[in-house]
Assembly symmetry: C2
Homo-oligomer: 459 residues x 2
């Protein structure tokens, strides 16, 4: 019997999507799902909602819950990691400390790259602990790495452990916003998107087999300005506005491929992010996902969702499938599991070691590219990056390679417990005015109470 274990199942948005997708995937309907979290209240809530949803959907899913990690991993065929250690509060404290030193919106790279506090310490430590437990308790399980930073995390785990890790993100689906905005039919479009997680680029864009970049170019030339004045754009939530923001178009002009999803924010240059007004110019009225406005909207939406879920979970009368209709979420975890378990041929956009897929990137760096799920002669399942080849050189040298270097710096600092390396990262931040400032800022960050373990770790 197939067992899927979700570590960090208290995640407000994610677990719900997972359960819905699983209920809709009849070929996985008699799986066991083990929900694990260290937050008892959230875990119980999720467990109640999940079991009720599965019942309403008439599936044979066997849903369990536990607060014990070993119990969760025991017997798992798939482990999904969606943990955000410590939640968002300690990161907000770090942000405030950095802002008091003149770093608008804090250190690190615009939300996505920097989950887990200074040097991504808390997340990386958790990832490695979990992966080592997987090695020991369920060595044949696939570890689906959904927690951020996916780039650092998947690379770290794949290098340091034998766990069969795959990084999974939904960000690339934003390309469908482009398809919609250009009023093309989704079924006529084929894309090839490649890069690193949160740093992916539209390499091929085909409409009925023909290059569709000219359609995009024409839209930009003739319709973009009008679109940026439309209610549709001006009233979009921050994460939705980014895909066709002035930032995306400017990045396309500068790097010659269109940026997809979080890339528009995460891989954008420093000069889009100097203050709120500048961010608003590039990302619309909210200033994008990571501005003080955009990020508050996000945190509030999480809070409201949580409250809603608590109400639902305490109200036996509510019809969950009515409130949260059963349609596929677009997350790739369940399709990936289905493909591996049931030998289905699907193309997914996953994060796996490069092994020559993108030219010029070392084999052991995890890239986000279309992947093929296959089977070796011996019956072993493989998840392999499709060959992508060259990306435009300017993009490689000014965006992807610097991002890769930053990943390597973060991992080196973490693996060697190297405080000097953390300091050098801060010192090289474009906003740093002196080495002494950088030192003071680092010490203040490490002095925050949740960082006591990091303080010991980085010597």
């Amino acid at each position: 019997m197939l067992q899927i274990s979700v570590v960090g199942a208290g995640s407000v948005v994610f677990t719900g999507r997972l359960i819905v997708d699983l209920c809709l995937t009849r070929s996985l309907s008699n799986s066991t799902v083990v929900l694990m979290d260290i937050d008892k209240k959230r875990l119980n809530m999720m467990y109640n909602l999940a079991t009720k949803y599965a019942r309403e959907m008439n599936t044979d899913l066997n849903i369990k819950k536990t607060m014990d990690r070993e119990e969760a991993l025991n017997g798992a065929d798939f482990v999904i990691d969606t943990v955000k250690v410590g939640g968002y509060e300690p990161m907000e404290i770090e942000r405030k400390i950095a802002e008091s030193h003149g770093y608008y919106r804090g250190l690190g790279d615009r939300v996505s790259d920097y989950y887990g506090g200074i040097g991504a310490f808390h997340q990386l430590k958790f990832f490695l602990d979990l992966a080592r437990d997987v090695e020991e308790v369920c060595p044949d399980a696939w570890l689906l790495q959904a927690a951020n930073p996916v780039f650092e995390g998947s690379t770290l785990i794949s290098r340091e452990t034998k766990a069969k890790v795959i990084g999974v993100c939904h960000g690339h689906f934003s390309y469908t916003d482009i398809v919609k905005t250009l009023t093309l039919k989704q079924e006529d479009v084929k894309v090839l998107i490649a890069g690193f997680n949160h740093n992916i680029w539209l390499l091929n864009f085909l409409h009925n087999g023909k290059n569709a970049y000219p359609i995009l170019d024409q839209w930009i030339e003739k319709k973009a300005e009008k679109y940026w004045k439309s209610d549709e754009y001006l009233n979009s939530p921050p994460w939705a506005a980014e895909q066709f923001s002035p930032a995306a178009v400017d990045m396309y002009r500068m790097y010659s491929l269109f940026p997809i999803g979080d890339t528009v924010r995460s891989a954008s240059p420093w000069w889009y992010h100097t203050d709120l007004m500048t961010k608003q110019r590039w990302y619309g009225p909210t200033g994008g996902f990571d501005s003080e406005i955009g990020w508050s909207i996000y945190l509030n939406s999480l809070k409201e969702m949580l409250e809603q879920m608590l109400v639902w979970s305490n109200d036996p009368a509510v019809a969950l499938t009515k409130e949260y209709p059963p349609t596929f979420s677009g997350e790739q975890h369940i399709p990936l599991i289905d493909a591996i378990v049931n030998d289905k041929e699907v193309q997914l956009q996953l994060n796996v070691p490069n092994k020559g897929a993108i030219s010029g990137i070392p084999d052991d760096v995890v890239v986000e590219v279309p992947t093929v799920i296959g089977t070796t002669r011996g019956g072993r399942k493989t998840v392999t990056a499709m060959h992508v080849g060259q990306l435009p050189k300017r993009l490689m040298l000014h965006v992807l390679m610097p991002r890769m270097l930053r990943m390597e710096q973060i991992l080196q600092a973490f693996l060697e417990g190297d405080r000097k390396s953390l300091l050098l990262m801060i010192a090289e931040d474009h906003r740093t005015r002196s080495f002494e400032d950088a030192k003071m800022l680092l010490e203040e960050q490490l002095g925050q109470s949740w960082n006591s373990e990091a303080t010991k770790h980085y010597k």
Copy 2:
């Protein structure tokens, strides 16, 4: 008969050293030396001095001169490139333009990396033209790349042409200053120095076979402060003061290997270079080789040397060997030629494609490492990087890899004629305050009259 052709023979310092070394190397004494320059006055002066010196030294050297490059290359076994296109004046204009935009001491990386103006255009263009002529006129000749930037230049030529290029620099000899300052005997010391040109590090430091870093550490702890107050340090010319400056010691502490030669300036972080006072704190009273004081001292010394040489060349009565005594200069060109021609076993510090010498650096990037001169079975001469292995990771990720990335950016911009790439380099300069400023600065630089060819090249 062996022919050595010197392109850019008007070089004040360099050609003299070459002739002296050649006169002292009896195994090369019946060579032909072809001096080539487009500056007739300088060429004649150098020719007169060289022939007179060779006569005084009683050698059989056959010295010729020409202003025609093809004539110089014709029949050459070795071509030495020491050309600085346009001299220093146009670079000083570029520096002034940059300073008017708030970039103290101009754009680029502290003299060494940036020879040849914006994007190193003039030098790279010349290097490639020359190497292509070598391919055609004297395809079996070795091309000794002495002109800066050696790192970019040697990598470019080795990738783009079939010319047998070797980058040659003298910077690593500064390690002997360390030996002297520590009052060790040179013959008891062995070193392994590795990195990129102007970015080299003391990987092994042995005294009578034992690790000598503790001797260095003790000197730093007990004697450095006193040394920095001594007349010896305070009165050193800028290039001599750098090797044991506070900058070198601080870099050693930060990156865990001692920096050698130009590295102390070229590979140092931005915060040593914010203004003259800061530079003086790190590099002594002159502020180092590239400060307004240090650079003036250098330019003046060149001027005085030139005047002196003109006087000598016009005075038949002067005994050149008395004024300029015949001792080996320490330059490696002649020892290298001697080793190749006469099958001598010497270890030289040269710039050749990595091919696995330093771990983690692509094969086709030129590194500066100890090299072995060998012969294949077929009798072909080889110059091969010795295996170096791992460098400390923090050093790799915070110094060498960023420098490599900058080299790749410069070469990509040059090879693709990519103005956006030049712009992105300026935009990422730590001092750039806005993207618009960067744009204006680039356009103003390209607008300088000597850049008219660059303006056409970078589209």
